[in-house]
Assembly symmetry: C2
Homo-oligomer: 467 residues x 2
């Protein structure tokens, strides 16, 4: 292997091949659930260097694990335990190639941090509409490789829908320049969407051309309490019909989620009394603050009149709006302070969510009396983070150890029965690979394996992930 | 082959295998540019029958040409001249499987006519947002196989963006049930988008789950004249920023396009004086007619004040709005009454369109003095139908015969130089297959061939199309 390391040093420069010292930052995932061992971490600075690295590894029969900000949640970007894989870190590949404001696009390299891309768009008076918790450290390449979601999917779509073109280094080390800024292009198979969401198993995304949007003139935020999930869904439908594409966020939180926030962050003010469910609505308006407020308050007043909601609080300032979002965003940390829990990132048809929650909550209570559900997420997209916390006073680690497999089976069976997905926005990685093989249709699995063999016949790209 | 026909009759019923008589309706394309000969036309009525037909053909080594409404423009849905291909007509596969209004989705079979799908959505008070000239006879399966565009792409996207899930019969005759109604699903490779736009070369789309939208409360339509393409682009940007997603249509027509409409349809009233370019704007509003009109007229008044537009006419009624659209939609017929022309369905980054039009118009005039340009299309998507008509008084057929290849080369070279696409919304089919092989990057072509071999190793699905 030292011949390979020498060749890699020749390709990317000696300081950019790290084979010794503490590699924890690259070898361990963000949640500290997966820890592998790398032969080396290689940090190319250009697309041509990425291609050279892939060719060297392919010819040495050594596999590659592409890595961006390493903020994934399914163990897809850390090496396995063999010590024989190269971590291909793309963080040095972070140049801005082009901003084309008149075309509402920008082209940046894969290692650009998401927040930097948002700021770049804002500096041109435009909006880059992908936004998620890890935006301060995740990279656009990782966002695309995992088809990241986040809080504005309802209006703007996932990373997939925001992407117009890609540059990719193939598993053979060739460079595909698919960096188009076109809204329409029907010239052959959709290679772009095949690489998006393939989690580094088909090639390496090195740059992307992404859609921008005009910045809204005003953004309104509100919390509203509702008596049931069915009311939350009815409110969503009314908001969609009244606000149309102006509805840019629709988050839901159950009572226990906010109770955990109250317990662990008592300094955060919760403006509404506890209720079975609390909804966070966001409206983006192209006209004005006045227009936005009238429309938004009209919706909420009517919803209260027809008893869809029991109470509501509309933010009066940007600071208040941030405080409402901060409540929602504090749930993941509050639940981890409460102790480990069994996490599910699921999606369902919106029409099935109320029934799913009612029957699955009941089944879990019956099977594990006293179990507590941290249930929150992007209701507008049908996406719930449906997490199962041990009964009060029990040891979290022991509960996980004893019950995680049976809880997963119960939840995923219910998801399947309701026509849902076992991974809405986090992907498959290593963590859900076996579950995917069990639950995806054999016809689909066969096609996916065929595509993998066609594009990466030597199996050098992130083996053991997804498939 | 008679053994195969017997097996097909057994699979779909004797009346649904048509091997004799006049097969013109299935053998000839809509524009009458391609005419082939079929071994037989087979009309399965269920997905299981489609699968049986594919299996029978595959085992007999006979290839299949899937066909919907046969309204395609690139010869992708008619058989070749060998008389050895089966036309797989999907028009009997036209059941509604499900309308899930609460999830804003419907699931229908591939043979449903587009207009019937629009009407189905409307009967539930919802909008199905795909709309194009052939909607009275094209089928949803064909729309998806070709990733059809149309007049509302600016807001709602192509067929691709409106699709959530597919049912597909693979080239091996297996059935993939991917009919999900989920907005988020990151469980493996994006098979859905691979089949969308693959023009029947990877498998047969038999059903789809499509997105619905709330119906707008009001729709406004206007014509505006602008002095130049650069002004049209500037107006587009202003409209996007002022109306945001409320801008649902932005069509452009050059002076000659509308002159042809005046000449061949003198009974159609053109409300504005002739100008270098005329724009058709459409705004959809979620609030009210009053709100919509104020916003729309404000935009146009400001645009006139800053001399972006020279004149404008806003429709006062649905009838007037239809009349404005009718002008735009009469261009294709007017140009065909004027005589055959050389058609291009191209897309460009919006920021490059003005330069493309100026330089390419000039280059064509220099090479073919007196040539006339019928230039119109979906400017909001960067999509132009850039058609070259013979000089006044020349014979159209002779002009095409003499000059089509060199005109194509000139136009496509200019498209490539401006970062555009040689097929924005019509696809590749048989017509542009050689051009694709010449112009697409070899790396992309290699990946497409690899995918074709992986999913259709025997080459039974629509051979000679796309690749």
């Amino acid at each position: 292997m030292s011949a390979l390391l020498d060749a890699l040093r020749a390709a990317v420069g000696v300081p950019n091949v790290i084979a010794e010292g503490d590699l924890t930052a690259w070898e361990q995932d963000w949640r500290k659930r997966s820890r592998g061992r790398a032969l080396a971490v290689v940090r190319p600075g250009t697309t041509a260097e990425v291609a050279a690295v892939v060719r060297q590894c392919a010819s040495a029969g050594v596999s590659l694990v592409p890595q961006g900000g390493n903020t994934g949640l399914v163990g897809g970007s850390v090496p396995d335990a063999t010590g024989a894989q190269i971590v291909l870190s793309l963080t040095r590949l972070n140049r801005v190639r082009r901003v084309d404001a008149a075309n509402l696009t920008l082209t940046v390299e894969a290692g650009c941090v998401l927040q930097a891309v948002q700021e770049l768009a804002a500096s041109h008076g435009l909006l880059f509409a992908l936004s998620l918790a890890a935006e301060g450290s995740c990279t656009l390449g990782g966002n695309l490789a995992t088809n990241a979601g986040g809080t504005q999917v309802l209006r703007y779509g996932n990373a997939r829908e925001l992407c117009l073109g890609l540059e990719v280094v193939t598993a053979q080390g060739a460079i595909w320049d698919g960096l188009t800024g076109l809204r329409k292009d029907n010239t052959g198979y959709d290679l772009r969407n095949l690489f998006i969401g393939s989690e580094g198993t088909l090639g390496v995304i090195t740059a992307a051309t992404m859609k921008l949007h005009p910045q809204p003139a005003a953004v309104m935020t509100a919390l509203a309490t509702v008596p049931s999930m069915a009311s939350a869904v009815a409110l969503l439908q009314r908001a969609q019909s009244r606000l149309g594409p102006g509805l840019t966020g629709f988050e839901v939180m159950n009572e226990f989620s906010l109770a955990l926030v109250r317990k662990h962050f008592p300094q955060l003010r919760q403006p509404l009394a506890a209720a079975p469910w609390t909804v966070l609505l966001e409206q983006s308006d192209t006209e004005s603050e006045t227009h936005a407020r009238a429309l938004f308050e009209g919706l909420l007043t009517d919803a209260m009149g027809s008893q869809l909601i029991s109470d509501a609080a509309v933010a009066d300032s940007l600071a208040q709006s941030k405080a409402l979002w901060h409540l929602r965003e504090s749930i993941p940390l509050a639940q981890s302070l409460e102790g480990l829990n069994i996490k599910h990132d699921i999606s369902l048809p919106v029409s099935r969510i109320a029934d799913f929650v009612a029957t699955t909550d009941a089944a879990l209570q019956a099977a594990h009396p006293g179990v507590r559900l941290v249930d929150f997420g992007h209701l507008g997209d049908g996406n719930l983070h449906y997490n199962v916390q041990m009964p009060e006073g029990r040891d979290a680690a022991e509960f996980l150890h004893q019950h995680e497999p049976v809880v997963n089976t119960l939840v995923f069976d219910a998801v399947s029965a309701h026509g849902g997905s076992i991974s809405a926005e986090h992907g498959i990685g290593a963590l859900k690979r076996d579950e995917l093989a069990r639950r995806k249709s054999p016809v689909a699995m066969q096609m996916m394996h065929g595509i993998k063999r066609a594009l990466d016949p030597a199996g050098v790209m992130n083996p053991g992930r997804v498939l």
